[in-house]
Symmetry: C2
Subunit: 190 residues, 2 copies
């Protein structure tokens, strides 16, 4: 998606350790006009898949998922990172390793909202090592729901997550796939 | 807002300890069509205030804030609950006490995105003891930005947060204000 690639080139900042900061428009400050274009693109890609639920993970996937869901005319569920008093006992759970935060945490989703008859589209802002996406996939599988695929905004294609998930036979559509990047600001897209 | 009150009566679940679960449509599963109506109502209330940024707090405020921002045609910023490697050092910070999770945590927002010239609308799903809202207010004040007011979906008017914030001279608009509720399922709105 050229619009997103151009925006990453213009406003993305490359930091040491292969960190790409897109927090001026994607995951801290959020450009909802860009999200609308992203949502339309996901609709173009997955619009004929009979999606009944969009599943994402807190926190930065939620905004993109909600704007996208308006085009799919379906609800969003976000997997929560901690078990709180406000979620009843009946949850699906999986483990996610955060490379950004350097820890492993549980994600949960209430069984009430993820049903065997659901056709689920996963949405997230980033795909790098694939841990969050694998965690979401397990939730869908545990629910016995149908996984339609995953819509990702930015994939770091030089990290193993995308290949790992595609090797499972799961459709992954990434709107911007980064082949390489360097701290002098150069970004190569696939 | 009658639509939201009706939805709370229909799908809200009252648990012990004055917990109102609205996780089937507001803060776990999210009904984005309802969010659109909420966004239009916030526009009706704050549309003439020259809002340049919507500020919310992760996680459950993000979806409502993003859908609302589409009507205001402005970006969203969400205050993050933990300092991650991906946020640079220059942040405004304040403390928030979570009654749901039973702990105090820091919230941060990058100084880059909250500027003295901004006119900020706060958006959140719940207002009860007011700790999250007070934390957001401090971020706006620290930035020297103008606080236009706060748009809240559900206010527990029998808890002190709403009064506390209004006593500071801050405009708070809550779309559903709960006067009382009881575990037999009865809810009284203000």
């Amino acid at each position: 998606m050229k619009l997103l690639e151009d925006r990453i080139r213009r406003d993305g900042k490359i930091k040491s350790g292969n960190v790409l900061k897109v927090d001026s428009f994607l995951n801290h400050q959020m450009d909802v006009k860009l999200f609308a274009e992203i949502g339309k693109e996901f609709l173009r890609l997955f619009g004929d898949c009979g999606v009944t639920k969009i599943l994402t993970i807190e926190a930065s996937g939620i905004g993109i998922a909600c704007v996208t869901a308006q085009y799919f005319d379906c609800p969003v569920i976000f997997a929560k990172k901690n078990k709180t008093k406000n979620i009843a006992g009946d949850v699906y759970t999986s483990k996610v390793e955060s490379y950004t935060h350097g820890k492993v945490y549980d994600i949960i989703v209430s069984k009430e909202f993820l049903r065997p008859e659901d056709r689920v589209l996963l949405i997230d802002d980033f795909l790098a090592n694939g841990s969050a996406l694998m965690g979401l996939i397990k939730l869908v599988q545990d629910a016995g729901a149908t996984l339609v695929g995953a819509g990702i905004c930015v994939e770091k294609a030089f990290q193993p997550g995308g290949q790992m998930v595609r090797d499972l036979g799961i459709r992954v559509e990434s709107l911007a796939r980064i082949q390489s990047m360097s701290e002098d600001g150069h970004i190569e897209f696939c």
